[in-house]
Amino acid sequence: MVKNKANFKIKNKLSPLTIALLTVLTVYVIFMLALFLWAVITACKKYSGDYSSTDSSIANNIVGLPKQFYLFENISKLNEGFADFTLIEMAINTVLYSFGCSFFKVVVTCVVAYLCARYENWFSKIVYTAVIVTMIIPVVGNQAAEIQLANLLGLYNEIWGMWLMRANFLGMYFLVFYSVFKTMPKGYYEAAKIDGANDMQVMIKVALPLIKYTFLSIFLILFIEYWNDYLIPNLYLPAHKTLSLALYHQSTGQELNAQYKREMSRVPALMASVLVVTVPVIILFCIFSKRLMGNLSVGGLKG
């Protein structure tokens, strides 16, 4: 009986569907690792700024290992082509943009969700309805008008302006916080009230500590989203180049050069830039992978 069960299990696991999926997934992983490996190896190769040179070491060694280690020299070329920004400045801009936007967004969302869940009045119902309605109704192409408004309010081209513009309570994360606060026993709040806590103390000392992991998960997801973003900074922050935006400009500018040798000579610098932008995200993922992956559920996250 036991043997039969074991045989059934193995047969089930090695069905044609399993084998097919295993094959596809293995190829997928190998392909992904190959991309990274090539980027890392290439980032360590010699960079040649001399575009007229036909003896660029990268052009003659596209898939081989680097003969010498040039990674840090290549990283220093990240700002080439837009000398107004140093690598440090771009890194600071990126951290300020991603940390600020994600932090203010998550704080505002969390606080508004708390207020709506805790105080069930007519205004909370309007706010809740507004969130649902804006989620269902897709509004397309209002960015041009938003840019004009940002200009008018003096927020355009300012990192703190982006913090303000992104500090809204709309979207699925509101529903995540709302459902967590809603399921929290009311006895917690009442006990704190009896102990003499005011409304602010109840929120800060009772409610918020109970949702710290949900808060962290959403903050991390948003942080990575903003870190990776080059489209919005390209529109709203032309004077504050971020690392992803620099990479975008560097790659497209470079691709305007059609000559193969000229293009390849800059690839090590480009791949070094790729590593600069990617490695912090990979480190974050390694530290918080369970938090990032474990909390994702229907329509977003669960608490």
Binding site: N12, K13, L17, T18, L21, L22, V24, L25, Y28, M32, L35, W38, T42, I62, V63, V108, V111, L115, Y119, A130, I137, V139, V140, G141, N142, Q143, A144, A145, E146, I147, Q148, L149, L164, A167, N168, L170, K186, N198, D199, N228, Y230, L231, L235, S244, L247, Y248, S251, E255, M264, V267, L270, V274, V277, T278, V281, S289, M293, L296, S297, V298
Partner: protein
Amino acid sequence: MTNTNGLKLNKKAQTMDKGAKIFYAILMAFPVVQFVLFYIVVNFQSIGYAFMDSVESSDNKITWFFSIKKITDWFTDPYKVKDLLDTAKMSLLYYGVTLCVSIPLGLLFAYYVFKKMPFAGLFRIFLFIPSIIPAAASVLMFKYVLNEVTPILFGTNALRFDTNPLGNVIFYNLYVGFGTSVLMYANKMFDISPEVIEAGKLDGALGIKEFWHIVLPLTFPTLSVFLVTGVATIFVNQYNVLMFNVSAEYDPLGRYLYDLAFASTKSERNVPPAAALGLILTIIAIPLTFGVKYLLDKYGPSED
């Protein structure tokens, strides 16, 4: 008596004292102002711009006036009509591939993870990673490996990115698109009661039958969210073509709209065409979204 008291107590508990009202008002003030400014005002302003036109005098003074020309241009100007049709065609192609390939594959991969088949945990991580890697970085890696490495490894130019840009852009978007969806489908599948799976097994639902008759219907609410919200992506998703820097013939609507928004950063006079197109697309997107939702509610599989 008890009920009445209970009701009174509940009402009292829900009534806010003065301190609570002040606390509520102070904390709500900023979010509400922010919402009014950056959602309501922006959208009304966008509608307003759609019905405006301008002339610039010799001394660079801009005069605005009411006009529906910027809207009608999208139906009458042959160049704009062509741009719109071409980009809409590309958007539908990218969306269609997502619908027909990415979603079914994502569900199958999620099922693989759910059934804890060989290396399921590892694949779960590797399927997620591309979705957190900056697109600016992964597009470059993808493009250069295809362009420069595959000819050396395979001795042919057939796999080069430049040989088939459209196919490769579609392939890339499939490659990076699994992460979040697989995770969400799998998490939803993990919510399925083991008793339901066991009962299915007793009835002979194994392998693909189990997936089709038990797992898929119970994962449908998550799939439905993706399908409904996915409608809007037809109009806004750029499918990374900006980063790929491919020829304009492969641009979807999202990229076209982005370019219009970018032009508006140079001059306010460029805002009306973008706002007009946005309004037209929103008018199309709203009923389309509700239509998809209606169809899924009516004809989609029931969890029961």
